[in-house]
């Protein structure tokens, strides 16, 4: 005897159970009558078209995710733009300062050159001039040389 035959022969016949249990039979009859009454009422109810609301939470989740991505993207874009502007301003300031420093250095160089030129010309002029106190001696020297 296999397990299957044991299992099926062990159980009582449904008809036997019903026969020996009138309360069960009564309950089953009431149940059948109840289901049939419900079904008849539902089957003959007026039908109205109604929209079926389907909650698709995955669509909701996808929508929220997309919104979050867009929001994050927008905010990141804003921050990036702001950061780029700050960096560009910093670079411009540095370049401007460098240009100013170079211009100042150039000006200082030019001024030093001018001063050097001026001092050189002053030295030449001064060396060619004879002080007035030495003028007679210079004339004597020139006459003696001519004789």
């Amino acid at each position: 005897m296999t397990w299957k035959t044991k299992w099926t022969t062990r159980t009582e016949e449904p008809a036997e159970i019903e026969a020996v249990d009138p309360a069960l039979k009564q309950a089953l009859g009431d149940f059948k009558a109840s289901v049939r009454a419900w079904s008849d009422a539902a089957h003959h109810r007026p039908h109205t078209a109604q929209s079926i609301v389907v909650h698709r939470s995955w669509q909701l989740a996808a929508g929220w995710s997309l919104a979050a991505v867009l929001l994050t993207g927008t905010m990141s874009g804003g921050f990036y733009e702001h950061h780029q502007r700050v960096v560009a301003a910093h670079i411009a300031a540095v370049q401007k300062a460098e240009q100013g420093r170079q211009a100042a250095a150039q000006r200082a160089l030019d001024q030093a050159q001018q001063e050097e030129d001026m001092l050189a010309s002053v030295d030449t002029d001064v060396s060619r001039e004879v002080p007035s106190a030495m003028e007679p001696l210079a004339q004597l020297t020139d006459e003696g040389e001519s004789k």
Binding site: E13, P14, D30, F31, K32
Partner: protein, 191 residues
Amino acid sequence: MAACTILDTMTMATADEDAAQEFSSVVASHRPQIFRFLLASTRDVDLAETLTQECFLKAHRNWSSFRGDSSAMTWLMRIAINLQKDHWRNRRMQFWRQTRTNSVDLDEASDWLPSGESSQETRLLARERVAQVWSAVEALSERQRTVFLLRYVEELELSEIAHTTGLSEGTVKAHLSRALARVRTELGGKR
């Protein structure tokens, strides 16, 4: 040749009309029973109507392949059972979805009693018994519930249930016995 083609077309059209009329009569005669079975299985009027419509839509598509090996009722009931299984399987697969069920609770389902001339007390007792049976039915496995409803609501023979569900008669009997034992326990008659 052309006449033959026209004749063939007319014959086919007539055959189609006959098949359509035959199918219409099948729908008219079996729709209440299919709906009732699905209603008892789901306790959801809207879902039962939807599944009933799907059942007949599927039957209409496959009507030409119905060979009459079994009765139309058995064939339709088998389609309904498969649709119901698919529905619950999809619900289980979609557990993460926010699904809404319209199943009525057991008390509400027990409110339905045939209108008769019975006394108030008799009706109250009947209502209580129906609620107990519903409670037992809810605790049954899907297969036991199907077999139980086919037997005690649709009053199919064991051989028809076996044919409809694809189970052997022995298995059907075993499922019925267990279902009845559960009902008897719920009724307080466990001996």
